[in-house]
Symmetry: C2
């Protein structure tokens, strides 16, 4: 009988998580800027699905506090208030220390290999600036660091707060330009050294230092007029 795969017009519909991820990236890339309203119908048509999965994706994103959907209006991208950004950096600053403290993992060879690739990419980017690749590289860095966090709960919190921080950070890098690329390259090279030494605590401290440095940059460039 060979029940043939029906597959009338087998459109490979994107899954909800893919939609969610794509939208999140667009917010982090500042393709969607604070104040923009994301209309479910538009996104739905763009992805070739109905509003239902898009609604679901947006609803999940709203947990991060990056968007807020208002009845009759749309889902608008939030402009994080300064206080919240301060709190965010304070928390990430402290969480960074915990990376090497809670359930440290053993660094594997493939971690080292990945760190080398990332560092090489960062060097290339420092010469040939490209904001899209900059975002992608940061994501890859986030993934690597995430794999080095042995405590699963901490890893979740870390990743979660990453997206909130990234949306602010990438909005700022557009203003500072080359400085951001240099900064990233320094971070990857320090990280590579720590990983090659299989020193997980150092990884955490390096993250801590660069979070602190990033916060100073934000204070200087985003809030210079308010102080």
């Amino acid at each position: 009988m060979t029940s043939r795969k029906p597959h009338p017009d087998a459109v490979d519909r994107p899954t909800i998580e893919q939609i969610q991820s794509r939208i999140l990236n667009r917010i982090c890339e500042t393709q969607y800027k604070p104040g923009d309203q994301l209309k479910e119908a538009v996104i739905a048509q763009e992805f070739g699905v109905s509003r239902t999965p898009v609604r679901d994706a947006l609803s999940r994103i709203s947990h991060l506090g990056l968007v807020e959907t208002r009845n009759g209006v749309g889902t608008v991208v939030i402009d994080l208030p300064r206080e919240r950004i301060e709190h965010l950096y304070e928390v990430r600053f402290e969480l960074a220390t915990l990376i090497g403290k809670l359930s440290p993992v053993e660094i594997q060879d493939h971690h080292i290999a990945e760190a080398r690739e990332i560092d090489a990419w960062a060097r290339r980017l420092a010469k040939d600036e490209n904001s899209t690749e900059y975002v992608a590289l940061n994501q890859r860095l986030k993934t690597l660091v995430g794999e080095l966090i042995g405590n699963s709960i901490l890893r979740d919190l870390w990743n979660q707060s990453y997206y909130q921080a990234a949306s602010v950070w990438h909005r700022m890098t557009e203003a500072v330009g080359a400085q951001a690329y240099e900064h990233l390259q320094r971070e990857t090279s320090e990280l590579l050294a720590a990983i090659e030494l299989r020193d997980i605590a150092a990884v955490g401290y390096i993250q801590r230092v660069h979070i602190g440095y990033g916060y100073q940059l934000i204070r200087k460039h985003l809030w210079q007029d308010e102080d």
Copy 2:
């Protein structure tokens, strides 16, 4: 003209957040136990709404890792693996210290009043055990501590991890009985003392101590056979 009233009997439909909160509480109260499958249709009928808002609520809860919805099966309550519970307590143990460290708030008179009421309630409960009220009191305690966390991001993470911990904790209190009520009463009285002194750092340390103590209880009663 016939009365074109759109909705004469305007039933006040529960909002998505109310549904979400109710379901979460049921998981924490262990009314929904690990392995149970929550069927959208059943919950929808119970709340007098369609599946759509229920789906939304469940989808939001799923990000806490307490439930997982599988296609064709249902939304099942997760039995948190031991490792994850360990990680959870590790993280909350560390987060507790940050309560008094990051953006400390000034304790107000109404905080003291609330702490007194909570402590009085805990004393009553210690004599007249009641598991439903026990859960409710813990929630009220969570709310109070949350108001004392000045860092908004930390507060979010704290509350978020609360629900994960509560579902495990309340499942255990059924086993230990009176000991849990005594423990809670000690916690509230210590907390009251710290709050009356307007010592926010002490609040954090007290939480830390009791999280550590709670973890010991879990190790003893839930995993005694595995060690």
